[in-house]
């Protein structure tokens, strides 16, 4: 039974590693495709809205990396480590800013009012 348990753990680790490798390869390919697009390069030179949009993936990556650094000490207890309050608050603020910019870009409330008045 011990051999079977060790084999199962190794099998799980192999499958998860393979899945992560394939997924990372696909994501890198997607990101490279975005970067090749002219609009993306122009947007990176954009103003405040571009910065407010792009801060969200950066903040998400930072919080995810911070969480992963807290994982090795948690192996003794065997429970998932909690996310600190400042990370949650920062992430919520970042996503709110992103949603605000997205809503502004989509709905354009002032632009809609003006166009209705012109009709």
């Amino acid at each position: 039974m011990m051999v079977l348990r060790a084999g199962l753990r190794m099998e799980l680790a192999l499958l998860v590693a393979g899945f992560c490798a394939v997924l990372a390869w696909k994501i890198v390919r997607c990101v490279l495709q975005w970067a090749r697009r002219r609009e993306a390069r122009r947007a990176l030179r954009g103003g405040v809205t571009a910065v407010l949009r792009l801060q969200m993936p950066v903040a998400s990556l930072l919080v995810a990396l911070y969480y992963l650094t807290r994982l090795p000490p948690a192996t003794t207890s065997g429970d998932l480590p909690p996310v600190p309050g400042f990370a949650l608050a920062g992430l919520a603020g970042s996503q709110l800013a992103f949603l605000a910019v997205l809503a502004h870009g989509l709905l354009r409330p002032f632009g809609n009012i003006r166009s209705e008045g012109e009709r």
């Binding site: 393979g18 994501i27 809205t49 993936p57 192996t75 996310v83 949650l88 949603l99 709905l107």
Partner: protein
């Protein structure tokens, strides 16, 4: 090339299916067939089958038979930042869970409330962003052709049109 792979996969399935029969016969004839031996055979069989299924799915993913290229794209092909962040957090928590199961003491890990809140924030952002896009498509009537800014892709500011009076 596909036929070779299919033949190999079929052969492996046949071997895996015949293995427990052979082992049960071996234990029945030459050893005492106990419950422990049967559990060992059953566990090994399930482990091998799950591994083969996993490898087949991985092979299909790697060779684009299962397409996940649009995983973090909008249907129009633009980048979707909200999908990207949802993917980051989902995989971070899922992989942490698997890591603790493999490395940890072997019990089912407890999930703290903060982790659930984190996943909730992430999924809510994706949902609200998608809802905004749908509302925009309904109000502007351009569901088929989304307007500039209708995706969460960074969109540059529109350049002003040159005035024909001044260009003459």
């Amino acid at each position: 090339m596909d036929n070779i792979w299919k033949s190999i996969i079929r052969a492996v399935f046949v071997l895996v299916a015949l293995c427990p029969v052979a082992m049960v016969i071996y234990f029945a004839l030459f050893r005492t067939l106990t419950k422990d031996y049967l559990l060992l055979v059953l566990g090994s069989e399930l482990a091998v089958l799950l591994f083969i299924f996993g490898v087949i799915v991985l092979y299909a993913l790697a060779t684009d038979q299962i397409k996940i290229d649009k995983l973090i794209n909008e249907p129009s092909g633009d980048a979707s930042i909200s999908r990207f962040q949802l993917l980051i957090f989902t995989f971070t928590i899922a992989l942490s869970f698997v890591y603790l199961v493999i490395i940890g003491p072997g019990k089912f890990p407890d999930v703290p409330n903060q982790v659930l809140i984190l996943l909730g924030i992430s999924a809510s952002t994706y949902g609200v962003g998608k809802g905004l896009q749908v509302v925009n498509g309904m109000t502007s009537g351009t569901a088929q052709q989304p307007a500039a800014g209708a995706t969460d892709t960074p969109v540059p500011e529109a350049k002003p049109e040159p005035d024909p009076a001044t260009t003459k």
